[in-house]
Amino acid sequence: MAAIKIDGLSKTFGRRKALDNISLNIAPGEMVALIGASGSGKSTLIRHVSGLVKADADELGHIAVHGRKIQEMGGITNDARQIRRDIGVIFQQFNLVGRMSVLSNVLTGLLGRVPALRGTLGLFTRAEKLLAMQALDRVGIAETARQRASTLSGGQQQRAAIARATVQGARVLLADEPIASLDPASAKRVMESLSDLNRKDGVTVLVSLHQVDYARKYCPRTVALRNGTVAYDGPSDALDHRALRALYGSAIDELVIPEAPEVWQPVAPAARALESATA
């Protein structure tokens, strides 16, 4: 059974088709990159799989996670809250609660598992707190547990968010541009944490990325979106510069980390002549 199965998914914002009849199968244990330029539908797709947005009403379209339908016929199913427990979501803006401690933020990952009243009152057991600490230790920020989440750097916040998804025990992890607002070193650590969860725990990961270089490095399979349709689905290695240019044309600059800027060119002769004339 597929970990994520998307069938005939469409989404229209006003008149614009953000997603156009998308079908996708992701097997358990895969790590798949979702690439595409801004506005190609990456985030929209991920928000649909997590059941945070409703798809267009269409009798055919549905999304199932481990065989359980989270969306069907343009409505979020009644089981959505149940299914969400098994889906961890990592957001571009981390979506931590800034005024709560890092530990408390990680513990909220357990809300879908512990009894509702106990969770609502925030009464977590010692064992649960240790589980959260272990998750924080795994992403390398255990020492920040008592700090307010808002005091952490972007990279640390994103790792705390990964820890939250870890304690959730999710079998499927959706990451919506997790590194888009991070510096390169933090981005690398975050991608490594995701990759670690995938390799060691066998968690299925679907990660949307802006830059194809990260996809090639961490994800064996890449799905490329263009104008709300699947433009490419296959091994990441095959996505070299030429293949990308065929897919995206001039928009390719947005998807590849620009090369180091070239050495500064001396002033053009005409400009230099002007300069000496005015001096």
């Binding site: 809250r81 427990r85 957001f91 809300l111 969770g119 609502t120 959730q168």
Partner: protein, 290 residues
């Protein structure tokens, strides 16, 4: 030139107000012109001024503003009246303080109950938390609570539960709920939706989304406005006694009606000191909250 450049140390003169102080540089680019005036906007601005002036003139006679001359002609009467207050009589200070504490206690319970009920009502009147068919009725109910003055509620509750402090507590409770629920909902509507989404994604139930995603964000503001309402309620509670709802108000109006100005003065001083102390204390606490 020298005299024009500095005002410091000069004796005040009206002439100075009209004098050129710094020579203004002339525009050197001949091609600049002033943009044409937007007459529509100018008319609109003067219209607003005209409306405001009209409203004041219109209200002049109904508000008996022409009696302002009495402030001068009856100054003797007022001085006589004020004289009675010059020597406050603190003989019964223990009694006043006791009643003042009772007044604060009325405010404590009135505000406390309002805070408790405003949490759910505030969330139910936030358009980002509840559907409009819940938001609209709850908001209108809160408008009603707010529109009716504490004193009017106090009169109603005195009839319902009898003379005494409890009527005052209930009056403050209802009126403050109307205010706090509105203020609470305003801060809920201004939250960052991302953390709520983060909590939702863990499979949490709706109530947990509010407890973990919303409340931590709005708590400092909620504490701040609640303390502010407590201050206001201490002030309001001092007049609730007027209609028999207990507290120092009752003592104060009895003494004023009995022409015992020396006692009234003492009571007023007790009220002023208490209100000032509450203000300072709650101001400090509010600083801690944010």
């Amino acid at each position: 030139m020298g005299a024009r450049t500095s005002y410091a140390g000069r004796p005040f003169s009206f002439r100075y107000l009209w004098q050129e102080r710094y020579p203004v540089t002339q525009a050197t680019h001949q091609q600049v012109t002033l943009p044409p005036r937007d007459w529509g906007r100018t008319f609109y601005h003067w219209l607003i001024v005209a409306v405001v002036v009209f409203v004041f003139l219109w209200s002049w006679a109904p508000a008996e503003m022409y009696l302002f001359v009495n402030l001068y002609t009856d100054a003797g009467n007022m001085a006589e009246y004020a004289e009675g207050f010059i020597h406050p009589n603190f003989e019964e200070i223990d009694y006043y303080i006791e009643e003042m504490i009772l007044t604060v206690e009325i405010a404590v319970w009135g505000t406390g109950l309002a805070v408790l009920s405003s949490i759910p009502l505030g969330i139910l009147s936030s358009s980002n938390m509840a559907p409009f068919w819940i938001v609209q009725p709850v908001r209108r109910l809160m408008d009603t609570f707010r529109a009716i003055n504490e004193l009017v509620f106090a009169v109603l509750f005195v009839v319902a539960v009898g003379l005494g402090p409890f009527a005052g507590v209930m009056a403050l409770f209802i009126h403050t709920t109307g205010t706090l629920a509105k203020l609470y909902s305003e801060s809920v509507e201004a939250i960052d939706p991302h953390p709520v989404e983060g909590i939702r994604a863990t499979g949490a139930i709706r109530l947990q989304e509010i407890v973990f995603g919303v409340i931590p964000q709005v708590l400092p503001l909620w504490i701040s406005v609640s303390l502010y309402r407590f201050e206001a309620n201490v002030r309001s509670a001092t007049v609730l006694g007027l209609v028999g709802a207990g507290g120092i108000g009752q003592v104060m109006f009895e003494s004023i009606r009995g022409f015992q100005y020396a006692q009234s003065a003492a009571i007023l001083i007790v009220v002023i000191v208490t209100v000032t102390m509450t203000d300072i204390l709650s101001q400090q606490l509010r600083k801690l909250a944010i």
